[in-house]
Subunit: 353 residues, 4 copies
Amino acid sequence: MNFTSDNATGACEAVLAAIQRANAGPAAGYGDDQWCRQAAAMLDDVFEHEVEVFFVVTGTAANSLALATLVEPWEAIVCQDTSHIANDESTGPEFFTGGARLLPVATAAGKMTADDLEDRIRRTGTLVPHNTRLGAFSLTQSNEVGMVYAADEVAALSEIARGHGMRVHMDGARFANAVAATGASPAELTWKAGVDVLCLGATKCGALAAEAVIFFDPALAEGFIHHRKRAGHLLSKSRLFGAQFVGWLENDEWLRLARHANAAADELRGLLTALDHVHAAWQTESNESFFVVPNDTHTALLDAGARYYDWPPTGFGREAGAGETLIRLVTSFATSADEVQRLAATARQHAGQ
Amino acid sequence: MNFTSDNATGACEAVLAAIQRANAGPAAGYGDDQWCRQAAAMLDDVFEHEVEVFFVVTGTAANSLALATLVEPWEAIVCQDTSHIANDESTGPEFFTGGARLLPVATAAGKMTADDLEDRIRRTGTLVPHNTRLGAFSLTQSNEVGMVYAADEVAALSEIARGHGMRVHMDGARFANAVAATGASPAELTWKAGVDVLCLGATKCGALAAEAVIFFDPALAEGFIHHRKRAGHLLSKSRLFGAQFVGWLENDEWLRLARHANAAADELRGLLTALDHVHAAWQTESNESFFVVPNDTHTALLDAGARYYDWPPTGFGREAGAGETLIRLVTSFATSADEVQRLAATARQHAGQ
Amino acid sequence: MNFTSDNATGACEAVLAAIQRANAGPAAGYGDDQWCRQAAAMLDDVFEHEVEVFFVVTGTAANSLALATLVEPWEAIVCQDTSHIANDESTGPEFFTGGARLLPVATAAGKMTADDLEDRIRRTGTLVPHNTRLGAFSLTQSNEVGMVYAADEVAALSEIARGHGMRVHMDGARFANAVAATGASPAELTWKAGVDVLCLGATKCGALAAEAVIFFDPALAEGFIHHRKRAGHLLSKSRLFGAQFVGWLENDEWLRLARHANAAADELRGLLTALDHVHAAWQTESNESFFVVPNDTHTALLDAGARYYDWPPTGFGREAGAGETLIRLVTSFATSADEVQRLAATARQHAGQ
Amino acid sequence: MNFTSDNATGACEAVLAAIQRANAGPAAGYGDDQWCRQAAAMLDDVFEHEVEVFFVVTGTAANSLALATLVEPWEAIVCQDTSHIANDESTGPEFFTGGARLLPVATAAGKMTADDLEDRIRRTGTLVPHNTRLGAFSLTQSNEVGMVYAADEVAALSEIARGHGMRVHMDGARFANAVAATGASPAELTWKAGVDVLCLGATKCGALAAEAVIFFDPALAEGFIHHRKRAGHLLSKSRLFGAQFVGWLENDEWLRLARHANAAADELRGLLTALDHVHAAWQTESNESFFVVPNDTHTALLDAGARYYDWPPTGFGREAGAGETLIRLVTSFATSADEVQRLAATARQHAGQ
């Protein structure tokens, strides 16, 4: 019953098999190989658009390199205050951008609204060079608290951001889950909705270590190869990373894996919210779920071997009161029906105690 | 009637005279001269403490160099959201620190309270190395909205910050005004209240360009000389900058100048708040005053030749309603009684129109 | 006949098998897992010393992170002018260190001598803070032109560097080849010879992407985890990278692979230098060999399908004259006897034409 | 007898008088004032070209900000190995450029020749993104060893640099001395000879602290104001720095001062090289002179109160042998005929002892 994170799961079979295939014989290093080229071509198809794509090994690298390519060191990046870039990547964004600034936005809805974004822009000075200049807007899809943006929500936010001269970055560490949850096409959720750069994460959803930084306008990618190289993120045996994307995308494996994870989360949400003593902290649609549980239920779950994180207050949704704990449960492509049932059964047995 | 900023005024006579004196004959460069030594000795006296002091030419340089010496690139700096470092120094703090992060705090009181600080600390993750580590707490005295911290308020904030491993930095661009306003001694407002580093600004209060970065514990200053040199802030003819501090501190000239500026602001506050149609946006005690005025009063002031800035909403105090403008009026050592009277008279004439 | 680089070869069987084994079931992320712990323990054994070890995916990341941990941004790093850090990592060292400076040294011997190092030190100013301070000395073993340092040569250089306050960094992208070539123990070539940090590369010699940054004094590693995280080099599924080291080190597989590569190079050197028209540019002992060949031999080799790089002039050894080309031939654990024989046979057929 | 450096002298009368004049009354801050505008207009005239000019307080800031505006963080800057940027500015160039790399060139002539530059370019790899890209060429005029480039020498070097895609930067900390020495016009020595940016130093030749960064093509200056602001080099009371340039340039005062310094150096060179036991280390034409003197002469000079620096070996010119010392003598606008005569007389008295 491991619900700690989607990256507690290893790589999926399709990805490992692709690595094995790509490993045979010699190949050119640093990305000039057939596997990277094939992965790039497959991404053109997936996004119905000719894209400029670069592979890296972590989400932090993908986000930071993308942002470093989009903004100047004296610019600011508007993002949600619960975002990964603002909380979980140390000062990576500052390091890669040469010192650009994050402007985190608190939300009442758990995801950014047009009002949230406009309010932040209004409160930002525009006296150059004293004030920082708004350089980029960063959105996570699906976001760090399990919420998903519909295509028109992305488009509305992008339009505001672009209207103020910002580039639009999407942290897609769980983009696959968002596609699976919305049913919208990858194109509809990105370039058709005004996204300039998508960091498409495969690692959390089946890869060994593979993230694709996808520029929908090649002109915006200028400088990326230099940023990547000097940051030590250009891999010599790149074919073994391009191959991961080939294995992941082939036959829509990525969506199959994401749907599995989402479905397990749906099942979990159904079972747990049916219990009187367990409450959804807020509505989620992806593979992350947040619940407020009585402390003794929490203890019983841990005693039964369930593994997950408790979560700090977010400022929105149903807060944990006295004697309660806010917990996060993450499912993955490997989460079994049995794990879900056992967790729910354990919680059920500890109702009202 | 120039109330735009204290730096709209040139240098005071005492400072220019000291430069002239120091200019005669040859001298060693880069700070190894009698004037810099004399200024340092005078600061020891002013602060009743042996200090380690470095001279630079701007407040941005002083703050950024001090912070760069205090924090690691993966640490965070807690500050008020209206602070100069968070608004008016581009991304200087990030540049000098190698990418440390600012954590700005909104306040209801217009200045930081213990609750504000503790709340910010509570909401900051501590999972190293994913989360940034709290490295420094920065306080502006007097602050950017004209408020002054009493010595015990500084002490209370410092104690919390130090309790969480943070160093305490004070942006003293208007420290002279704070000393003049509180009547507390420089020592009481700084090291006796837990401040590690003070950036003591002379420029806004009479110098040509002179700021002193004062470390109360020499051990904390390690690395400062390297940061300063590589940032181009070590001046060859340093004696002419050390001399400014000599001229400024001699015979308590600095306090005389600050008292003048504060008194002019007091006079202004008295005259303007006596008018029914003009409202103090919030209480201030230093040389900065903020008023909400009807738009036609605002126009009349500008037409009469008054110069000042209107101000964006701050989230505290009395907000400007429809038909009103929030304005900032700054007095300096050169503000004349006549200027104050003329401004007030102009405002009076446009009451209720 | 691919002699372009050792990274043109994929991962070895032992490494891939270890990844498969480690992939089963859930595991903690970010290095807190049994595989990373096992790899660390195995490295303790290999080096006969308790080491502090961190895993990353590229040699550039390993070198840059190690150097960033060792030096201040105002310090200099002395290295050979043909070194990887000075030529092949873009400005990675500057990026990671926050702007430290490389001081490249030209050599007459093709590898650093005590005289080379002492001369460089003598010509470096020591007027702080104007001049940069000597922070680290970096040595590549085996070096980029195929030469190997004996244990006493490393010790002599380290002693000089340490005597001037420098830390000693070893770029061991081909350290396995150096161990295989010298017969010295890993301990003798590193900490026993004064090396502070070794970047031990597995990628060029059989891993998918795995480099270990090994600190022999844990106190020197302070800050490393922060540098690594903010650079995007902390991998979520770290177990799959720790596992590569397990597979690589088990049963001395790494030395078996390195010996194979070295032996193939020896065979190649023997066959080619027996030809009158082919000349060793200089003596090498590892898996890299450099030859001066007539241009028509060069063309014939390429026509026959041989793949390798021609090389720019180095300033030492036998230079390519008119009608000649300097070429580099790199062998790997996968180089077959047949490839070597065919290359030599092709070169032989084109003698004197 | 102070011959240590031109910055051992204070500011000239004309500069101090201009500061006094500019100090009266209020003025807009941050460069939006009549004095900065007047200084800019005067520079247009001096250079017979509409220039984009920015004022800063140190040569290190001027050079670093100019270079940061010209190059990308993954590019290299070719310069002479004795240059100020490579020796005397700590790691300022790396800090401001975000980690670009210096490529210092050794010279046999004491100043860069076309062959020196072409050889350096030839030895630099061009495999992007592995190798750094050549971004800028930096030339000091007059250079750090007292030599001056004729206009056609500048043009020849610029042409080579531009032909390889480099921008051309001139460190003109002693540009006034070069104009005085060559008799060429400021235009002929800069933009007419292919220079993109000149850092024109007034500090060493009479200012309190004033350097102008002059872009001959405004398009190249993009970003400069942001770099300057975040580095703390935008001064609030900028008028007092613009005024220094007004005072310095008015009535060709700058050239009068430079000619005085050069003439004093000429006199010194004539007197000293007439002595059998004193040797010019190499020919110089500006206000810096280098001599090889017997150690007892050196001691006698110091005993007589002469102040100057001895100098490390440069690798060109006449080297100091056993019992000899290489010394640098710098004259300034304040050097008196009496000082020169006394120094020469002292040296004469200690001939052959």
